[in-house]
Amino acid sequence: MFVIKSPVTETKQLQENIFLQKIHCPEIASVIKAGQFLNVRVLESTYPLLRRPFSICDVEDDYIYLLFNVMGEGTIILSHKPEGALIDLLGPLGKGFNTEDDYELAVIAAGGLGAAPFPFLTKELKDKKEIKTFVGGRSKSDVITYGMINVSVATDDGSAGYKGTVVDLMRENLQELKSKKIKVFACGPTPMLRAVKEFCVENDFNCEVSTECAMACGFGICQGCPIESANEKDKYLLVCKDGPVFNIKDVML
């Protein structure tokens, strides 16, 4: 783990409200894994006080990428960082995706900003496994396909691709998914993750989800980010340390 100030080298507006930020940070680039995250201090100030967690979106040589949408004060400030500005990174944090299991087809399911960790996962997987990606959003402008391959799109309002949720779309493709040994990797809002879990349990698919939770520290010292364990009664796991990626068998969503 590092606490390190690294320079922003590029901030690109991918879509309305959605930014891709490139940061020169060889220390983290060389060790981080898909599904892990960074906790970012956007200003050296007492407001915003806490760091903001962001998934690692991609890694390219000595550079790392964050993909974020502008939510509030923190992400506004981040989106305005000029080239060369230093940002204070804490990471790599958490457990990433387990890509080593026994499966042929990696099925990626992303809802909205849930796309963030998948460009890097795609890169890690693409020489080893077949990949099929399902991306959903409320509307066309929420759909992020950056850095992903073999993508099918679903939108709630039908403005792009299939009309319905990303899980509806996966259901439509059930036969194809059943034809291979698959593992599902999902990230998105909690209601979506619940639907993914239900779908995977029904069909006995192995599945990992990347979860979210309000965080203070991001590395296990504040106990701020509980998620209910599915295995042990009356026990919480920590999203930041035990996750953010969990096998759906291990947590209650």
Binding site: V3, L50, A214, G218, F219, I221, P226
Partner: protein
């Protein structure tokens, strides 16, 4: 060797420097040890321990506020037994005074925990948390009731010879009365302050942002409040005070010491910069050199107030 003597005494407890890590903000030291060399800091205070493990509150447990944060962790902890078995062995690797913070729902539980732990050689002192606002069945009544705080001090004092610190709640009319009760019942020091009760609501769902409704406010937002409380105790009661609340840098440490603190604890800052506490020690030394202060302990209650 440094020309400045950074060591401080908190009653019978001697620390190599005044920078301690606060309860609930460093777990049991494992994670923070990756960032800060524990051998360089004054002391480490454990997450509040209770007799049995506590699961803690459901999410959401954390809300950010302007220059502060609310937490309602609900005293999630491994319990005294697992602490001894699983956590103490790690801390034995370091030469850092270990202070056990204890939280309980009844006076008997406080006593019981202390009895079990006092035999552990690694533990150098106890800090009794009478003020955690998040545990519904206990905690709050102690923290807001002078007699109860006196009673807890007396009863725990009876079962341990180790330095006994009582951590006080700021959510009272006159904190000095509590410090006074602690002193009378044989406590060695007080820690001030624990978090300030606060709450926040979502304006679209109308639900409290914290599952627990109320939480504890910490961070720089509360520093002026903490300074006033430390000063109040320092001016009224002759007992060592450990200053806590919103410390973000070495200047804040000095400010607390001037206002009356013998040592300080770093809380929320550990979440934001887990390397900060360790770095402060050198900066404190520089300040002392610059101000020609030979022993940092001279700073304690060195306020220049016209009466």
């Amino acid at each position: 060797m440094s020309k400045v003597d950074l060591s401080v005494n908190i009653g019978p407890l001697k620390l190599r420097n005044p920078v301690m890590l606060a309860s609930g903000t460093v777990g049991y030291g494992t994670e923070i040890s990756e960032f800060t060399d524990l051998n360089t800091i004054g002391a480490i205070v454990t997450k509040s321990l209770s007799l049995k493990p506590r699961k803690g509150n459901p999410p959401q447990r954390i809300v950010e506020t302007p220059s502060g944060m609310l937490n309602a962790i609900g005293l999630a902890n491994v319990g005294v037994e697992a602490f001894i078995k699983e956590k103490i062995p790690f801390l034995k690797n370091y030469d850092v005074p270990l202070i056990c913070n204890i939280a309980a729902s009844t006076i008997e539980e406080y006593v019981e925990c202390t009895k079990i732990l006092t035999g552990e050689e690694t533990i150098k002192a106890f800090e009794i948390n009478v003020s955690c606002p998040n545990v519904k069945e206990g905690g709050l009544q102690f923290g807001n009731d002078v007699k109860a705080v006196g009673k807890v001090t007396e009863m725990v004092r009876a079962v341990t010879d180790k330095p006994l610190i009582i951590k006080l709640s700021p959510n009272v009319s006159y904190i000095w009365e509590f410090a006074d009760a602690v002193k009378k019942e044989g406590g060695d020091a007080v820690s001030a302050i624990n978090t300030v009760v606060g709450s926040a609501f979502d304006i679209y769902t109308k639900k409290p942002k914290l599952f627990n409704v109320n939480g504890g406010l910490s961070g720089p937002a509360i520093k002026p409040v903490a300074i006033a409380k430390v000063l109040e105790i320092s001016r009224k009661v002759d007992i060592p005070v450990i200053g806590i609340g919103g410390i973000m840098n070495w200047k804040d440490v000095i400010e607390f010491m001037i206002a009356g603190a013998s040592a300080v604890q770093i809380g929320t800052l550990n979440f934001i910069d887990p390397t900060a506490a360790g770095k402060m020690v050198g900066e404190l030394e520089q300040y002392c050199e610059q101000m020609n202060i030979k022993r940092i302990s001279e700073l304690t209650a060195s306020y220049d107030i016209e009466e």
